[in-house]
Amino acid sequence: MSELETHHGEEPHIVSPKIYVLIAATLLICTALTVAASYLELGPWNAVVALGIAVFKATLVVLFFMHIKYSSKLMKLTVFAGLFTFLALVGMSMSDYISRAWGSF
């Protein structure tokens, strides 16, 4: 392990407590928003709104609490690889689901 650190010792970026508090507050507000939105009658859009807020929150957590915003390009690429794979899974599966009924009306 020590070898890892000495080889590529990047200066650890120190995030100020102010930012942490700000992000935590935003997350709480978003949670309240999710609850509020669930009372609106939006039909299928309820799920979309809830997921949208959740994605926004997850992004904040990854960027700030997990320090990706301040990390090396390689770390960003690693996170992006996971995201890319997930999008490939959902997107390409959708190519089946959206077109399954085409031509059968």
């Binding site: 070898e3 080889h7 590529h8 690889a81 490939a88 390409m92 089946d96 077109s99």
Partner: protein, 553 residues
């Protein structure tokens, strides 16, 4: 026949007293080791064990298919036998075969490091593998599972009464062992290369393991999720795959094949790495088009995620998406053929010798080409509708997995045996074994292409009598193949005591692993090497030797 083997004088040569095998003694020094080389050996023993269980099950399948009736065993027993065969061979043998043994042993040495980045996680990976393996065996003893290795819904969730939950858990656990191996390789290759070891000086073995590791880390979690969903569906009926609850059984196949198509590349890529090393060494030439071969591994890893639906063309997916996936499947064959062509050009005007690893590598090239090209037939959705779920599929994937990967595994085991154990395997009998394997393989699996074209479906214990002749051929071939696999088991164990002393570099190969003693020291290198030479630089090797001679003189 000429040979490049150069062994030290057998009357005076000794295995170095201090090496990773003798460094510490006692069973605990093995079970608690962090040494990547010892963990590789633990893995080698374990996967060999599972290979022979899987092989015994294969023997039972072929015996049953000797006659058209289902007479050796009941039809539901047959279902269990082929399911357990597939599960054991794929998840417990092929996936870890080369990476967890040769990869574990060699990658740190090849990049010039003393160990993998996370030795304890490496050990944990072996324990997870054992846990998964034991759970599978336990499920097998308690009645087995009969869903096929694909756990297809709704069969696995609604209709069978066998050990789906236990086996599913076993695969889930074994999956994490493969994620940990991949993670370890990625971090090691990124961060622990010796000074001067740039990406383009890495042996192609390392590149192909890097690509396979990406697939392991990104793909395996999806398999884990898919299996967990099946288990939840079975136990508490959550309904994601159940149409009566608004679910979709085909969703399972999307998730499963999203992992399992990349998984076929997890299985083959490390083998391709072995072939690159072997072909270069035994034709004394740098691999032709080094960077094309390196990047084709990465291309396989990326494209591999975009073709999975070719396993589902007849399952009720949309015609339009079939069209898209059929076209994308054609793409994925391109990087594989880049490799085959580059290996062929490497041979061109090389000084070729025919030691055992090279014979296996030739076997790989021929059989993998046939396997890959028949994959293109299957990727074309039109022909696939005729051929899918027939013996053609069985022949296709056995050509790539057994003809390809198993040959590559054996090539690698023979090639690095002197490094791992310090002793040579016996050359003549092992050449014989390689040839026997090749002949047996073709007898076993070529008839299955014909059977598939004629319409014999896979996964049934009985078949119409007109298919018997080809099935008898196939079973006869399997017995030859069995001999081909038993021979190495015997003579490799024999060689541990009686083999000739190999010395550091019996093949005159250029990799860093050949520049250190065999078997290596626990810390691999006395001092971390500074790398100035390219991979496969045989002139550099000559200069090194001259240098040594003048120094001694």
């Amino acid at each position: 026949m000429s040979s490049i083997v150069s062994l030290p004088d057998q009357t005076t040569a000794r295995i170095p007293k201090r090496n990773y095998l003798t460094n510490e003694n006692g069973i605990l020094s093995w079970l608690l080791t962090g040494d990547h080389k010892r963990i590789a050996m633990l893995y080698l023993i374990s996967i060999t064990f599972f290979f022979f269980i899987g092989g015994a099950l294969a023997g039972l399948i072929r015996l049953e298919l000797l006659t058209p009736q289902s007479d050796l065993m009941a039809t539901d027993t047959y279902n269990k036998v082929f399911s357990m065969h597939g599960i054991i061979m794929i998840f417990l043998f092929l996936v870890p075969s080369v990476p967890a043994t040769l990869g574990n042993f060699l990658i740190p040495i090849m990049v010039g490091a003393k160990d993998l980045a996370f030795p304890k996680i490496n050990l944990l990976s072996w324990y997870l593998y054992l846990a998964g393996g034991s759970l599978t065996l336990w499920a097998m003893i308690n009645g087995g599972v009969d869903t096929g290795w694909t756990f297809t819904t709704p069969l696995s969730t609604h209709y069978v009464n066998t050990n789906v939950v236990t086996t599913g858990l076993a695969i889930f656990v074994a999956g994490f062992s493969s994620i940990f191996t991949g993670l370890n390789f990625i971090v090691t290759i990124h961060r622990m290369r010796a000074p001067g070891m740039t990406w383009f000086k890495l042996p192609l073995f390392v590149w192909s393991h890097y690509a396979a590791s990406i697939l392991m880390v990104l793909g395996t979690p999806v398999l884990a999720i898919a299996i967990v969903l099946v288990l939840l569906e079975r136990t508490i009926g959550i309904g994601v795959f159940d149409p009566t609850k608004g679910g979709d059984p085909i969703l399972f196949q999307h998730l499963f094949w999203f992992y399992s198509h990349p998984a076929v590349y997890i299985m083959i890529l490390p083998g391709m790495g072995v072939i690159s090393e072997v072909i270069s060494t035994f034709s004394r030439k740098r691999v032709f088009g080094y960077s094309a071969v390196a990047f084709s591994s990465v291309a396989i890893a990326v494209f591999g995620f975009f073709v999975w639906e070719h396993h589902m063309f007849i399952m009720g997916v949309s015609n339009y998406s079939t069209l898209v996936f059929s076209l994308l499947t054609m793409l994925v064959a391109v990087p594989s053929s880049i490799k085959i062509f580059n290996w062929a050009f490497t041979l061109y005007k090389g000084s070729i010798t025919f030691e055992t690893p090279m014979l296996y590598a030739f076997g790989f090239m021929g059989l993998f080409t046939i396997g890959g090209l028949t994959g293109v037939f299957l990727g074309a959705s039109g022909t696939d509708i005729h051929l899918t779920e027939t013996y053609f599929i069985v022949a296709h994937f056995h050509f790539v997995m057994v003809g390809g990967m198993l040959m590559a595994f054996l090539a690698g085991i023979h090639f690095w045996w002197p490094k791992m154990t310090g002793r040579m395997y016996p050359e003549k009998i092992s050449q014989l074994a390689a040839v026997v394997t090749f002949i047996g393989f073709n007898f076993t699996f070529f008839p299955q292409f014909l059977l598939g074209m004629l319409g014999m479906p896979r996964r049934y214990a009985a078949y119409p009598p007109e298919f018997q002749v080809l099935n008898v051929f196939s079973t006869a071939g399997a017995t030859i193949l069995g001999v081909g696999y038993l021979l190495p088991m015997i003579y490799l164990v024999w060689s541990l005591k009686y083999g000739k002393i190999a010395g550091a570099n019996p093949w005159q190969a250029t990799g860093l692993e050949w520049q250190i003693q065999s078997p290596p020291l626990t810390e691999n290198f006395v001092e971390i090497p500074v790398v100035t030479q390219d991979a496969y630089d045989y002139e550099w090797l000559e200069r090194q030797k001259e240098h040594e001679v003048t120094q001694v003189g």
